[in-house]
Symmetry: C2
Subunit: 335 residues, 2 copies
C-alpha cells in the first residue's frame, strides 16, 4: 500500500498511532520539571515550564504543490511561510517567538529571489515580534520552505478536542478570500480592480489572528483552531477531535462583499473550501460567545453550532433550509 | 547570481546578514522575561526562560543529496534524521526533549517504508528521551525529512565562538568511520566482515554524544560543536566563529583500527573530511583538558591546538612534520 492509497490523513493517523504506542523510555523533561500539555494532533505541541506554556509548531510549503512562482512572488512566499506557522500559535492563544527557517533549493535559484524571500519573512516577523534565529539550507530539485516556530502563553491553550454539543461556532474573519484570489489568478477571471486588489492581497499576504486569539483566550474560550485547509474541512477536523458533529448556516458564513462581487456563483464554495484563510474557528457556550463577539474585528461571525452525532460530520444548511453533508479532506495533497 | 555561484556558506552568510540587519520591532519575549542567548550561526539557538536554557535546532536530509535508499535503509534513515539534531543539542551541552517531524513524500511512497522510518525515529528517540510531538506531511517529488528539535540545559551553553589561542583541541570519539562506511558501500570496497560490520554501523546508526556533552560542560569546557561535515571543515567553522586558526597533528587524529584496516591509504582523508561522525569537537585550556580527557569514552583524543592567525585557517601537520592547509567547505552541497 502506498501513501496515495491511504491519503494524507490516513497516513498521519497511522504514524501518530505508532508514535503514541511505541514512544516511551526515559524523558529528559522530568529533570527540568517540564510537563507535556498538548501532544500530536492539535495546531501546536505545548508544554509547561516554569510559569510559562511553550508552544512548538512547523509547516512546510513545496513548489508545485502549495504554490507556484506565477501566483506567489518570492517576497509573498516568505510572508506566507511564516504566516501559516504564526496562525497555528494564534490558534492556541499564544504569542509567536523564535523561528528556524529551512530552505530546500535548486542550485539555479537566484540570489535576488532569496533576498526577496527573506524580506517577506522579515516583514511579517517584525510585525509579529518573531525573530529568525537559525535554520538549514539544502540542495533540492524543487523549492521547499519549512518553518519551525516556538511560541509562549501564560495559561491554558485552546484545543480542538474540547467542543461540546450546544456550543456556538464562530470565525474571527472573512473566509474564502484567499481561495478567491488564487482562482482569480489561475483562471484569469475578470473582476473589478477593487476586487482583484483585495483578493490577491488576502491570498498573498494573509494576516494571522494573533490579537483575536488573545481576545478569545481572555474571554474564556477553550476550543479553537486556525482555518488553513478550508472552513468545512477544518471544522470537520475540530469535530472529529472533539467527538461531535456541527451544523453551520450558509447565510451566516462571512464572505467579503468583494468576494461575492467577483464570484457571484462560487463564493459560498470558496468560503467553505477555499483554504489559507488563517482566521480562527472557535466553539464556546452562548454566554461566552455574546461577550466575545463585539470585541472581534470586522468579518467575525457566528456561523452555527456544535451538535451531538457522528464525530467529524459537518452539515451545511443552505439558503432554502436544505441540509447537505460537507465533503471532507478537501486539501488531501496525496489523493 | 545563483545559489551555486555563491555556494552554501556564502548564501547562509548573506541571509544571516539580512536577518541580523533588518530584524527588529517588538519582540514577544520581553513580556515573558525570555532572553535570547545564542543567535544564528551556532549548533542551536538558545534562550533563557525561568531557570532553564531552551535550545532549538533543525536539520534536513534530501534523497539523492544526503542519502540514497541503496546505502540507507528506511529505518536507519529515521535514526539518522533525529541523530543529527540530537547531536546539535549535545554540542551545546543540553539534553534533547521534543521533536517535530516533517515528511516530504512522493505519493508512491510505500506505507511499510514509512513505518520503518518511524521505527528508526522511535528507536533513537526512546534511547535519548526524545518525544515526537507532531509535524507535517507534504507531497514532494523527492523524499525529504526535516526534524525540528528542542532541548534544555541548566546553565551556559558551549559555543563555537569562544576558542582562544593556546586552547587544546580534542574530539570525543573516532572520526572517519561514517565516511568509510559510505565509501565501502558506494565503491564496493573489499574488507573484512568485522570492518564491514563496524563501518556500516557507524554510518547507519551514529550515536550522538549527549553524555560526552554533559561531561564537557560539567568540567567547564565552553567551546564545542558537533562534527557533521567532516573534522577539518567543522574545525575551520569553529575557528572562523572564534577569529582564530588551528594546528592539528595527523598522528593524533583518532581513526578506528577497523577503518585503518579497510582503508590503509585513505583513512586519514576520511578522518579529516568524511562527515557524519556526530562526535564533538571542543577546545579548552590545558588544565581543563587534563581533567576531562580521562572521563571521555574510547576514541576520544587531543588532536592539536588553537593558534593566533587567519580566522578559519586549519593547518594539518603530517607524519613527517610537514604542514598543509586543510581545504575548506568539503560538504558544500551546491558547488
Amino acid at each position: 500500500m502506498q501513501v496515495k492509497d491511504l491519503g494524507e490523513f490516513g497516513v498521519i493517523a497511522l504514524l501518530n498511532k505508532i508514535v503514541i504506542t511505541e514512544r516511551g523510555g526515559p524523558d529528559n523533561s522530568a529533570a527540568f520539571d517540564i510537563r507535556l500539555l498538548v501532544d500530536t494532533g492539535d495546531d501546536t505541541a505545548a508544554w509547561h515550564t516554569g510559569s510559562t506554556t511553550q508552544l512548538f509548531t512547523t509547516d512546510t510549503v513545496v513548489e508545485g504543490v502549495h504554490f507556484t512562482r506565477q501566483t506567489t512572488p518570492w517576497r509573498d512566499l516568505g510572508w506566507k511561510s511564516l504566516a501559516s506557522n504564526i496562525s497555528d500559535i494564534a490558534a492556541m492563544g499564544g504569542l509567536p517567538l523564535y523561528a528556524l527557517v529551512t530552505l530546500g533549493l535548486p542550485p539555479e535559484t537566484e540570489i535576488a529571489d532569496l533576498e526577496e524571500l527573506y524580506r517577506g519573512l522579515l516583514a511579517i516577523g517584525n510585525q509579529y515580534g518573531v525573530s529568525i534565529v537559525g535554520g538549514d539550507m539544502v540542495r533540492s530539485p524543487v523549492v521547499f520552505i519549512t518553518v519551525a516556530l516556538t511560541g509562549v502563553q501564560a495559561g491554558q491553550s485552546m484545543l480542538r478536542s474540547t467542543a461540546r454539543p450546544g456550543d456556538k461556532l464562530a470565525v474571527t474573519g472573512y473566509v474564502g478570500g484567499s481561495g478567491g484570489g488564487l482562482k482569480l489568478m489561475q483562471e484569469k477571471v475578470k473582476a473589478s480592480p477593487e476586487a482583484v486588489a483585495y483578493l490577491c492581497k488576502v491570498h498573498r499576504r494573509p494576516v494571522p489572528d494573533v490579537a483575536a486569539g488573545q481576545i478569545l483566550i481572555d474571554a474564556g474560550v477553550s476550543t479553537a483552531m486556525d482555518i488553513s485547509d478550508g472552513l468545512a474541512d477544518d471544522l470537520s477536523k475540530l469535530c472529529l477531535a472533539s467527538g461531535v458533529s456541527a451544523r453551520i448556516f450558509a447565510d451566516q458564513i462571512p464572505a467579503h462583499p468583494l468576494l461575492k462581487e467577483a464570484f457571484p456563483e462560487d463564493y459560498l464554495t470558496l468560503a467553505l473550501n477555499g483554504g489559507e484563510d488563517y482566521h480562527l474557528l472557535f466553539a464556546t457556550p452562548q454566554p461566552v460567545m455574546e461577550r466575545v463577539m463585539p470585541q472581534l474585528p470586522e468579518g467575525a461571525a457566528v456561523i452555527g453550532e456544535i451538535t451531538a452525532g457522528e464525530p467529524g460530520k459537518v452539515v451545511v444548511v443552505d439558503y432554502a433550509g436544505a441540509e447537505t453533508v460537507a465533503p471532507r479532506h478537501g486539501w488531501d495533497h496525496f489523493s
